[in-house]
Amino acid sequence: MKPFRSLKMAAMAAAVGLAGMTAAAAETTKLTMYYPVAVGGPLTKIVDGLVADFEAENPDIDVEAIYAGNYNDARIKALAALQSGEPAQLSVMFSIDIYDLIEQDAIVAFDDIVETDEERAWLASFYPALMENGQTLGKTWGIPFQRSTIVMYYNKDMFRAAGLDPDNPPATWDELLTASKALTDADKGQYGLMIPSTGYPYWMFGALTMQNGQVLMNGDGNETYFDKPAVVEALTFWHALGAEHKVMPEGTIEWGTLRQNFLEGKTAMMWHSTGNLTAVKKNASFDFGVAMLPAREQRGTPTGGGNFYIFKQTSEEERRAAMKLIRFMTSPERAAQWSIETGYIGISQASYDTQALKDYVVEFPPAKVARDQLEFATAELSTYQTGRVRKLLDDAIQAALTGQKTPEEALGEAQSQADRLLKPYRQGG
């Protein structure tokens, strides 16, 4: 009998142990907000600080801000919570998730929440380029929050050494190529230019195609233009930088280690997210500059980053509270503070008109480049079935860069597969 008893006790102990670990489960808070973290630094603390300020101003609203991993994790978490009946009321998520969220009937348009003229004015107060990824079907679904663009970082010391004007970074593709050739020194293992092609190849590519005068998709998210001549030409140029001109390493270039390569002088120029600005500033041992991306037909970059969304499963009261919170977080002063502390761009003209950001831009001029470039910015690749469509383009780019396929072939295949995916979303298709 004894062994039986001790076994049973072990089982009981295990059960009690598990039950004892139950933490105080979800208190009845008014608002739950998920947010992802996509750039380095103690961002969770900054968000906690903003939320604490908001709660101090609005004692009747209780906000629980929950860190939810990267953009992908955040979407999974939000949708899982939604379908289980314990949803959040609002969330910061990838701006390009918009079509998936609409298709799942998960979010509500801000046009249906705003009530007063003042709120409508607020809705129109952001940089138009930042709204592109948040608007479709004639409505606004996402409010810009942690947004970035691509800029060109360049090493001024190397420019001087190569006899180039450090205050005159290349402004066209031709100048870019000439400068890159002058800056490349194969003996020292030093390249003129690196454009990353892992992680977010479609994003970098969106810049090249925009510069060549062609966007990658339509505003309804059901049509892509991967096989347009200007797009093929852009990929041919990218491939030639490494394969033909040898000013960039051949094959693919790692997204995650590119900053390190730039900081160590392995490349004189890099294209990267503005999200890197703070880190480069902190760690560069040389004189560096930040420039807008060069132009062929025009300058161009896609925007990137995360937007605020409000979920459909919310009461009238919760929507009002969520609006208050989002308006607080996007108010000029908070947006300025957020921009200075994280390196993301200020999302409205008004935020750049605040004293804090004015001073910061004077003290650190590169911070202004991203904003000025917004004039030439376009939406980041975003369609229905966005994950799969993006993967098609990513694979095509990498296949072309590694020389497995020609740009025409790779992009043609990607386009026909994207057509198949998007057909059901076209009117009468």
């Binding site: 933490a23 979800a26 739950t32 750039v39 899982a80 289980s84 999200g275 880190a279």
Partner: protein
């Protein structure tokens, strides 16, 4: 030993000498390959970030990376949560898998083959597919944002059941019969005969389970919301910074902090681990 056998032995060893050397080289190569990422993490963590991809033997050492990493997230609490999670879960797995494995190994009941097939099927489903379903179940139980919610979907481990069933099947019936004659109940037989004989398997399974759940990320992230319940990996993910690229020095420091307890435990119990794996026949 006579002189004759000595020379014969040494002659033989001289003949075999090159092949043994090849084995060593292969073993060393594999060992070095295996340890390189860890060695790199140590290098990056203890040096200022400008030495992250530059090797200079006398680069200055620093603990700043650890200091910085520690401030990113409440790691002390996360350590506690992870510890509670893996120990509680392991206890639950041992109990459930032992009982289920014993039932499948020694009893014939209606539908036992179907039931076992269902358990095996569980092995082929990746848990990530079930995140939404599991979340709904936990919400139904009112357990969202709790450590048991992280553990429950893994408690009835198919791998554990399968492993223990196979082990129990190899135990000779005679031992069981002897225990029965001595008056042991079924559970007594299990406790007195089967469990002690399967000790190496328990150790091996425990190692696999602990290391797996120490490292598990997505499910704990999805099902938990607060500092009080989240495990180490969630804290570690803050360093990932997909958009700006990674600060390798701080990331390495955070990684070393997170794996340190497992690493120390492995070094301490290395001999037991290796032996148990040999006996259990799992690699």
């Amino acid at each position: 030993m006579t002189d004759g056998t000595m020379t014969a032995a040494s002659a033989r060893s001289r003949v075999r000498w090159p092949t043994i050397r090849l084995d060593w080289i292969a073993a060393w190569l594999l060992g070095v390959l295996w340890i390189l990422p860890l060695a790199y993490a140590f290098w990056a963590a203890f040096h200022p970030s400008e030495f992250v991809t530059r090797f200079e033997p006398f680069a200055p050492l620093t603990l700043d990376n650890f200091r910085e990493a520690w401030t990113y997230a409440p790691f002390a609490r996360y350590f506690l949560n992870t510890f509670l999670l893996v120990t509680g879960l392991l206890a639950a797995q041992f109990v459930l898998c032992t009982l289920a494995g014993f039932a499948f190994a020694r009893f014939t009941f209606a539908g036992h083959q179907v039931a076992f097939a269902l358990v095996l099927m569980q092995l082929m489903i990746t848990p990530e597919v079930l995140i939404v379903e599991n979340y709904a179940t936990m919400a139904g139980l009112g357990l969202v944002d709790s450590i048991p919610a992280i553990a429950l979907p893994y408690a009835a481990s198919a791998f554990g059941i399968f492993l223990l069933r196979q082990t129990f099947k190899t135990v000779p019936r005679e031992l069981e019969d002897a225990a029965r004659i001595e008056g042991c109940s079924w559970l007594g037989v299990l406790w007195r005969v089967y469990v002690p004989l399967a000790r190496p398997v328990y150790l091996a399974y425990g190692l696999v389970s602990v290391s797996h759940h120490w490292n598990n990320f997505l499910w704990p992230l999805v099902i938990t919301n607060s500092v009080e319940t989240r495990p180490l990996t969630v804290g570690l993910a803050i360093f990932a910074a997909p958009e700006s690229g990674v600060n390798w020095a701080v990331l390495s420091a955070g990684t070393l902090m997170s794996v340190a307890p497992l690493l120390v435990a492995f070094l301490l119990f290395q001999r037991q681990f290796v032996q148990s794996f040999m006996q259990a026949g799992i690699k």
